[in-house]
């Protein structure tokens, strides 16, 4: 069952809903969320996914990170990393 998650991307003006598949990686979920906000957000940053205060391992799966439905997931810019491409 897909897990509905509230996604917030640093630089964006609003939150969006994304559906996370249990088997997909955090890296894939990050790309999905960035794609959802691409009209409003400059993608030329690197981002890390933060859930309940913890930075998530991009290679871990959604199931492994224990993401709960209707909770908040943030993509934070890695300001010390030169602009280029985002995770994934």
């Amino acid at each position: 069952m897909p897990i509905p998650i509230y996604g917030f991307v640093e630089g964006d003006t609003m939150g969006v809903l994304i559906l996370a598949e249990e088997g997909e990686t955090i890296c894939s979920l990050t790309c999905k969320l960035l794609d959802a906000v691409r009209l409003r957000v400059d993608a030329n940053y690197q981002y890390e996914a933060v859930y309940q205060g913890d930075v998530l391992d991009p290679d871990a799966t959604v199931l492994q990170t224990n993401l709960k439905p209707l909770q908040r997931l943030d993509l934070k810019r890695q300001h010390d990393v030169p602009e280029g491409s985002y995770n994934g």
Binding site: Y6, T13, M14, A36, L39, V41, P69, L70, R72
Partner: protein
């Protein structure tokens, strides 16, 4: 024959002491409101206008005649067609939000007419109800002629009958404020917070912008409505004074709660129109109107009552700098989900906005830069509309029902709260506080996301837009210029 001053008290103070029923049966607390006090506490209730029925009818007739005269002179279709297109779209926003909401205020006033605690209050609330019926029918009448030219004006009547996301937010607000409310909370929330405070943004601030835009019909309509509001808003003052004397903590709570609820509604309704759709004739920013009419004048009124500024004052001041900008940039990228057209602010607009909102404009400006770049890359024209449009499902606040646009682009302030195994999300701390004070009132309401997850609304974006929001290709919102901005083609990197 009695003179007016001697006759009016006789005609307004009509209560007698009940012998065959209990006062609590006639005025139950659940519908008359808290605090419940015996009539003896209310018997000196008085307001300053003291209008008689005859005076009321004569005055209203004259005001209606003046509105019709202005409509005949400058309010015809050909006059509206000469107005700037962005302004016309601001007109569509207000026409839709105003007309039927005013009718709910008629129902709220009728609650005061029946369950107000003194006969003078009930008499004035009767006139208030008649006022609100007038405020319903004037915009319906004036906008009806425009429907044959532009079907988006049909939303003047249609808006509240849809499950459009903005209609859900507006109904959530007005259902509570005017339809489901006890008489005391209605009169304080509506007469004090809405009418003494926020509607001045519409009826004074927006009226002056309408004048600048050459929209004399809209200016006349709202200033005529304002003369009624100024009279019946007086009902709330003596109600608030008595509640404050008997339960000051509750009076402060009502002010704090309704100020915040009004703030979010008017940020979209008025803030967006003033700063993005009013065009170059705008004389002041939304923030400046707010500072004059709300921060200075409204809170001076509250000071006179001995009330404090809301506990979230610092949060409000931060939002004043950015909330409606967050909303508008978000809404632009979902423009086909509402019934009016919108614009990308030009470089001149953005300079003006940077000057008016220096604290956070850089962060918002980056978003507009991104949107403008998408127009450049996709190419312009009506057929490219959906190339510069989002399709991901927005998330909505479980209190105000607006998209989660709290905080800044750098730090969105949304937070999740669990209650009885269910998660609720709020855009801001005050929205969360309002919910947590009365969860039994709000918890059962499903925001749009929860309706979709429950299978009550379509998950497919196209079906959501047409079947659930009741929009059509003719009526859904577009970029006013289809992305064809002269300044955009001159910018480096334009194709």
């Amino acid at each position: 024959m009695l003179n007016r001053e001697d006759w009016l008290p006789l005609a307004r103070k009509l209560d007698w002491e009940f012998s065959y029923v209990e006062e609590r049966e006639v005025f139950p607390e659940i519908i008359s409101g808290h605090p419940w006090l015996p009539h003896n506490a209310w018997k000196d209730w008085e307001e300053s206008f003291k209008t008689s029925y005859r005076e009321y009818v004569e005055n209203q007739h004259e005001k209606d005649m003046a509105v019709y005269a202005v409509r005949d002179a400058v309010g015809r279709l050909e006059n509206v067609q000469r107005l700037a297109t962005p302004w016309i779209n601001g007109l569509k926003v207000h026409a839709a939000a105003l007309a039927l909401a005013e009718f709910t205020a008629a129902i709220g006033n009728l609650r005061g007419t029946r369950f107000g605690r003194d006969s003078a209050w009930r008499a004035m609330a009767s006139f208030g109800a008649l006022d609100e019926i007038r405020h319903t029918q004037i915009p319906l009448l004036l906008m009806h002629e425009l429907v044959r030219w532009d079907s988006q004006f049909d939303w003047t009547h249609k808006f509240y009958h849809t499950n459009n996301w903005l209609a859900i937010a507006a109904r959530h607000f007005f259902d509570e404020l005017t339809l489901g409310q006890n008489a005391i909370e209605f009169q304080i929330a509506t007469n004090i917070v809405l009418e003494t405070g926020f509607t001045n943004l519409q009826f004074v601030g927006l009226a002056s912008l309408a004048h600048g835009a050459g929209d004399y019909m809209f200016e006349k309509m709202v200033t005529s409505i304002q003369t009624d509001e100024a009279r019946h808003a007086q009902i709330g003052h003596p109600v608030l004074a008595l509640v404050l004397r008997h339960d000051p903590e509750y009076a402060q709570y009502l002010i704090d709660k309704w100020f915040w609820r009004n703030w979010h509604l008017f940020s979209f309704l008025t803030g967006v129109t003033m700063d993005y759709l009013a065009g170059e004739q705008r004389s002041a920013s939304f923030k400046e109107f707010m500072e004059e009419w709300i921060v200075d004048q409204f809170f001076r009124t509250l000071d006179e009552f001995g009330l404090k500024r809301p506990w979230y004052w610092d949060i409000f001041q931060d939002e004043l700098e950015i909330y409606h900008h967050m909303m508008y940039a978000s809404a632009y990228t979902y423009r086909s989900t509402f019934w009016f057209d919108v614009v990308v602010p030009s470089p001149d607009d953005r300079r003006w906005l940077r000057d008016k909102y220096p604290k956070h404009w850089n962060e918002i400006d980056a978003v507009w830069e991104c949107i403008a770049n998408h127009w450049k890359r996709s190419g312009v024209g009506a057929e490219k509309e959906m190339s510069v449009h989002s399709s991901a499902l927005p998330a909505f606040c479980d209190m105000c029902q607006f998209p989660l646009c709290g905080g800044t682009p750098r730090k969105n302030t949304a937070s999740v709260f669990e209650l009885n195994g269910a998660n609720y999300i709020f855009c801001s701390e005050p929205c969360r506080w309002i919910f947590q004070r009365e969860p039994e009132r709000y918890a059962a309401h499903k925001d749009l996301v929860k309706r979709i997850l429950a299978g009550e609304a379509p998950a497919d974006f196209t079906a959501l837009r047409t079947e659930y929001f009741r929009l059509t290709p003719d009526t859904w919102g577009k970029d006013v210029y289809g992305g064809e901005y002269e300044w955009l083609s001159k910018e480096p990197g334009s194709s």
